[in-house]
């Protein structure tokens, strides 16, 4: 080992150590602690703290409210991610042919994405207002109680989420489309490919890798989403919008069962990690490098 290599090793450690210590204390340590917490009965206001093993998880296995939350989380994730991807690709294709006003277009597009989700919740709470909300006005003046009707609340929530996250998908796809050389399209035209054929056999296959990345990012975010439903519907009406994250939060800080709430948090964690792991395996299997 040369003097330079030794110096590099020392520098590497010195440069990385502060960040790694911070991540260890603020991310790794809590992630391990929550596992331990989920095996305990912890109700601070009654001074209860005892080890209960896997009791919380066994209880969850037979808990109807938990399975409802699982269903809501999955329906929310599938519906919202599918709509975001479809609309996002459409918007990116529309932007691809944009020649003037691109900056303005991106400003309008990214506005919804950049807002705090609490602001989005307040925007849609007002839009969905039964008597003065714009949605009902546009639909012809019916007094539909979007957020109060158990059949409508989840679709209304999905719409708000699609509004704020579609721009992310559109931007990624648009950035990818910009890197496709014009010559590719010219060659296709020379070969007599029509617009539909070009889209099907050139544009969409080239978008595939970035779409898979967007799919991964968006699925992970949808599974752990919390702010929007907590502020917009609070999990109601009748728990029809109560995701796992909202159930966990209510258990942790409203009924103050720290151990039980931690157990639901661990389930969310396992779900997110399983999805991430599955995606990465599938990507590697398909030989796709994004």
């Amino acid at each position: 080992m040369t003097a330079r290599q030794r110096a590099d090793r020392r520098a590497g450690l010195a440069f990385a150590a502060p960040a790694m210590l911070a991540l260890g204390a603020l991310a790794a340590y809590p992630a391990l602690w929550v596992l331990w917490l989920s095996l305990q009965q912890r109700v601070p206001i009654f001074g209860i703290a005892r080890f209960v093993g896997l009791d919380h998880f066994l209880f969850l296995a037979g808990d109807a409210r938990f399975w409802n939350a699982v269903r809501v989380t999955l329906v929310f994730t599938l519906a919202s991610v599918a709509l975001e991807l479809a609309l996002g690709v459409a918007v990116a294709l529309a932007l691809q042919r944009q020649r003037t006003g691109r900056r303005l277009a991106l400003s309008l597009l990214l506005l919804g994405w950049a807002l705090p989700s609490v602001v989005t919740a307040k925007l849609f709470e007002w839009l969905y207002h039964p008597s003065a909300g714009l949605v009902n006005v546009v639909l012809g003046g019916h007094a539909i109680n979007w957020l109060g009707d158990p059949r409508l609340a989840l679709p209304a929530l999905v719409a708000a989420d699609v509004w704020r996250t579609m721009p992310f998908v559109a931007l990624l796809c648009y950035a990818r489309l910009l890197t496709i050389p014009v010559e590719v399209y010219e060659a296709a035209r020379v070969d007599g490919a029509g617009r539909a054929a070009t889209l099907r056999s050139i544009t969409l296959p080239l978008l595939r890798p970035i779409l898979l990345v967007a799919l991964l990012f968006r699925t992970l975010d949808a599974l752990r989403a919390f702010d929007l439903m907590f502020v917009l519907t609070g999990g109601g009406p009748a728990n029809t919008t109560e995701t796992l994250t909202v159930y966990a939060y209510r258990s942790l800080f409203q009924t103050l069962q720290l151990g039980f709430g931690a157990a639901i948090g661990v389930v969310v964690f396992a779900l997110v990690m399983a999805v991430a792991w599955g995606y990465l395996r599938a990507l590697r299997g398909a030989g796709v490098a994004a």
């Binding site: 991310a27 790794a28 992630a31 602690w33 506005l111 307040k122 007002w126 661990v266 964690f269 990690m273």
Partner: protein
């Protein structure tokens, strides 16, 4: 052909403006007097007013919340850069023991659900006596800001040609001097992009801020907005005005600093 393209451009802009309607409608509401709130047939209120903004500025916790958010988001961003920039350089360029594992840990921690770590962080911050302080929020936000920033910066640093550093070494410069004279100037735009995304994430953060704060001493804008008080009925106009104030930094970032924002967003996804 040219005219058709222009028509297309206008159509796309109109479509995107329509998509942004929820925002513009709230903007309109923020200038609408209460008696006109039910009048929805005009694009602009008949008697626009600043009364909601005055109510929010004079009689709500919003001004203090804006200060808290600005402080917490700025300090979080600075701390993340101070810790993350050297670490990103080490991960991109230096032989760090266990590097593969470290990179995996950084990526994994960007995927941590906040709802999972919120309970141990709550116990930790309570034990340290930090509840309801800026420090608590800065530490909690760093848990997601730091991995995000490190990931972005490591990518930007890898894009810098190695030859530039080698040339500086041949001139007899040490590692720290190389980082300062060669890497820093070249990665500065990348740092700006990463800083913008970090700031935005900290500004928008709700779950940690909602859990770790108790009074207006540390309540951030999203928390103040979520808890916005109404005495007898919901003050929609005041809420609209408060929403617009909460949206100000994101608007500035999207409109005026768009280039850096887009660069950071795209880089994060394309370098996976």
């Amino acid at each position: 052909m040219r005219r058709r393209l222009r028509a297309w451009d206008a159509a796309v802009l109109l479509l995107l403006a329509a998509w942004a309607t929820p925002f513009f409608w709230q903007l309109r509401t923020s200038f609408t007097p209460d008696v006109e709130l039910l009048t929805t047939d005009r694009a602009v209120p008949a008697h626009p007013t600043l009364i909601h903004y005055r109510a929010v500025v004079d009689r709500s916790v919003m001004p203090r919340a804006l200060l808290n958010s600005l402080g917490v988001a700025s300090i979080t961003t600075l701390l993340a850069i101070a810790l993350g920039l050297p670490a990103a350089y080490a991960l991109a360029r230096l032989p760090v023991p266990g590097k593969g594992l470290l990179l995996l840990a950084v990526v994994a921690s960007t995927a941590f659900p906040q709802i999972t770590t919120v309970s141990p962080l709550y116990l930790l911050l309570r034990a340290l006596g930090l509840r309801d302080t800026w420090t608590a929020l800065v530490l909690a936000d760093t848990s997601f800001a730091l991995p995000l920033l490190m990931w972005l910066l490591a990518g930007f640093i890898r894009d810098i040609p190695l030859e530039l550093e080698e040339a500086a070494f041949l001139d007899g410069a040490g590692r720290v001097a190389v980082v300062r004279r060669v890497i820093l100037p070249l990665v500065a735009p990348g740092v700006a992009s990463a800083a913008l995304l970090t700031f935005l994430a900290a500004w928008n953060e709700f779950l940690f801020a909602f859990t770790f704060t108790a009074t207006e001493a540390s309540r951030t804008v999203p928390v103040a907005l979520a808890l916005f008080p109404g005495v007898f009925e919901v003050p929609w106009g005041d809420i609209a005005a408060a929403s617009m104030l909460a949206a100000l930094p994101p608007i500035v970032i999207v409109v005026a600093l768009q280039r850096w924002l887009v660069r950071g967003l795209v880089a994060g996804a394309l370098k996976e």
